[in-house]
């Protein structure tokens, strides 16, 4: 009983493609302000050094972040669905484990942004009656996500009630 325990990682990793998706996403987020600053630097002569400096900072911070975080995230992000509960781990530096019992699940949604569609990925969001507890599984293959949603909906349909 008094042995030392810890939360074990959930069984399933997310899709490997998710790394590419996150990379694209992060680098695009960095690229937009960098390009804007570069264009401004071209157009506005007097402020050029400052704008270039700002662009340099954006790139110096953003690019390593954008490259490192997706791989790190891939190592952390995991999910698992058992008979009784949904279990996720997410984050990178700050990590969070979330558990929701099957009997308390209220809705199961999938979402696919344009970029996610390009990589055939979906994210699944599982909500309970708590205002603070949605479980989000990012970077699933979209067929797997659809399957998962169907399975969860099936399971949760059988236990009706308020789930509060």
């Amino acid at each position: 009983m008094n042995e030392v325990v810890r939360l074990r990682p959930p069984r399933n990793r997310v899709e490997r493609r998710a790394v590419t998706y996150w990379l694209t996403n992060e680098l695009a987020t960095v690229a937009v302000p960098a390009v804007v600053l570069a264009v401004l630097a071209l157009l506005i002569g007097p402020a050029r050094p400052w704008l270039l400096l700002a662009m340099g900072i954006v790139l110096a911070v953003g690019v390593p972040y954008g490259i490192a975080v997706p791989f790190w995230r891939y190592r952390v992000h995991r999910w698992e669905v058992t008979e009784d509960a949904v279990y996720t781990r997410s984050g990178w530096l700050w990590q969070e484990w979330r558990i929701a019992p099957m009997s308390r699940i209220q809705t199961v949604d999938t979402a696919r942004g344009p970029l996610e569609q390009l990589f055939r990925l979906s994210s699944v969001t599982v909500t309970t009656a708590s205002a603070a507890g949605p479980l989000k599984i990012q970077g699933l293959d979209h067929e797997l996500a659809a399957e998962l949603v169907e399975r969860l909906t099936e399971t949760t349909r059988s236990n009706r009630g308020d789930a509060t």
Partner: protein, 537 residues
């Protein structure tokens, strides 16, 4: 997950003769809830109430303007005519608008649903399944009370802030409102009931000695500051702000700035104290906490009367809250932990979750016990958290205090030496305060299990002691920052449908926290735990 609203077109024309208020005789609707299907109108006196409200509001705005113009040298007659005309026009418009709203609004209670529809130009139908109704709250401002009316807010207690989560009947007659509440909350209304609900013995009633805790709350500084703000604002409207400042300056021309500040602070405190006493009286007048048929009822209010209901089934625990001032003199407030509290009552800016104002803590605890019908706080072993949690807090305190001092110092170096002095004063004053708060925060941290409840205590200065029903825990969020990882701490949140959705056990030792979660909701966490490989010595 409300079923879709049926698209049955409600009857368009009503049999009611024009102008007569179709107040249903209570007997017809209460005997059988299945009397149903009959569309009823709101009370027509609402039109008068809105007319008076708008006229009063208009006059309130107009007076400073008129005063401003007249002072500015404009002849008073045209100003009076224009602003008077404006007020009349506004009142007429608002009255007509409210009359239209009244004319085209109907509500009905059927066997399955409560429905409110508005059918003119923009058609809306709000519909709530009756078995989802969790709250029926009655709020009446002085004007409504003058006409014997009250607003009725019917809510599902659904956390999702969907459109269908509540509807407001604005207004109906008081007796009808009481009857609606009984019918809707009871589900099976007993035959031959009188309109006066049978009140059980009160769990708590107002003790006027509690008023002594009112001035030591947050309202005193807020009201005190607001008073000065109001003076400046209004004088600005009238255009006499400069002369007000001039006047105050002249008044204290011969005294030092220190005296001036002290006098102003004293006036502010005085206004704050009087204001908070007044607020207490207005909010808690005739306060009475009762339980009727499994529903907790809070009735209170001097001018605006409120009658708030909370179904026992929605109760997930209590929060015995000691605000800083009250805590210093051994008092506490009782807040409720219940599902569906997120949606605030319309136009009622007092917290609906407060079951009882600050009172001596022993009494607050007794009421908490009566409310829960259990006593999780007595004899619970509230366990402290590891000292690493204390070190984190002290570090935060130092960063915050020294950070402020550093910013002041840098600005001082760049701008003026006054700020440099402020910097060392800030460091000297803020550091001990911050450390004291950090230590208090750590001392308050604690958790425990007591019967059916998970108890968590937290807060710096003010202190919350929350007893959360274990059956109401609908999941766990376990969070760990890099710093927590190094010191073996985690922050565990028990998610729940009540209040803000989760309650934290912050900075608890990892083992202790996981064991707590495992024990609190048996079986949920267990499959996801693994023994740590005994590689470490």
């Amino acid at each position: 997950m409300t079923p879709p609203v049926p698209h049955s077109e409600p009857p368009r024309s009503q049999p009611h003769p024009r102008g007569t208020a179709p107040v249903p005789s209570p007997a017809t609707t209460s005997r059988k809830s299945g009397e149903a299907g009959r569309w009823e109108q709101l009370d027509r006196h609402t039109v008068w109430a809105s007319a008076i409200t708008v006229a009063g509001f208009g006059a309130g705005v107009a007076v400073p303007f008129v005063a401003g113009f007249v002072r500015g040298g404009t002849s008073p007659v045209p100003v009076l005519l224009i602003s008077g005309g404006g007020v009349v026009l506004l009142t007429v418009l608002a009255t007509v608008a409210d009359w239209m709203r009244w004319r085209h609004t109907r509500y009905r209670i059927t066997d399955e649903r409560v429905e409110l529809r508005y059918a003119w130009v923009l058609h809306t139908l709000r519909s709530i399944p009756r078995d989802r109704v969790r709250t029926v709250d009655l709020v009446a401002n002085p004007l409504l009370r003058m006409f014997g009316l009250t607003k009725v807010k019917i809510g599902t207690g659904q956390q999702v802030t969907g459109q269908q989560s509540h509807l407001t009947l604005d207004p109906v007659r008081r007796a009808r409102a009481e009857e609606l509440r009984r019918v809707l909350l009871e589900r099976a209304p007993a035959a031959g009931e009188t309109t006066e609900p049978d009140t059980g013995p009160a769990l708590a009633t107002l003790d006027w000695s509690w008023i002594r805790y009112a001035p030591i709350g947050v309202t005193t500084p807020i009201l005190g500051t607001a008073a000065f703000g109001a003076v400046m604002q209004v004088s600005d409207w009238i255009g006499v702000q400069n002369s007000v400042i001039q006047y105050v300056g002249d008044l204290f021309a011969n005294t030092s700035i220190v005296v001036l500040v002290l006098v102003l602070v004293a006036i502010g405190v005085l206004i704050g104290v009087v204001g908070s006493l007044g607020l207490f009286v207005e909010m808690w007048w005739r306060y009475r906490l009762t339980r009727e048929n499994g529903t907790l009822l809070v009735r209170r209010g001097l001018f605006t009367t409120r009658s708030l209901s909370l179904e026992q089934r929605r109760l997930r625990g209590v929060d015995v809250f000691e605000p800083l001032g009250a805590r210093l003199v051994g008092a506490a407030r009782v807040d409720v932990v219940a599902t569906g509290l997120k949606v605030r009552s319309d136009k009622d800016n007092t917290d609906p979750k407060t079951l009882m104002p600050a009172a001596p803590i022993a009494l607050a605890r007794r009421v908490a016990v009566d409310v829960l019908r259990a006593d999780p706080l007595a004899g619970v072993d509230i366990r402290p958290h590891p000292t690493a949690a204390r070190n984190r807090r002290i570090a935060w305190a130092l960063y915050a205090a020294l950070g402020i001092a550093a910013v002041l110092a840098v600005l001082g170096l760049l701008l003026t030496t006054v700020l440099l002095h402020l910097a060392w004063i800030a460091a000297l004053v803020l550091t001990p305060v911050a450390i004291a708060l950090a230590l208090d925060d750590y001392r308050n941290l604690g958790h425990g299990l007591s019967g059916d409840y998970l108890v968590t205590r937290y807060g710096a200065g003010s202190r919350h002691t929350v007893a959360l029903l274990r059956g109401g825990i609908i999941g766990w969020n376990v969070r760990r920052s890099p710093f927590q990882r190094r010191s073996g701490l985690v922050t565990i949140a028990a998610t729940t449908a009540a209040n803000d959705g989760r309650f934290f056990v912050r900075d608890v030792g990892e083992q202790e926290g996981l064991r707590l979660a495992e024990e609190a909701v048996p079986g949920l966490l267990t499959p996801f735990l693994e023994p740590v490989t005994p590689a470490r010595p």
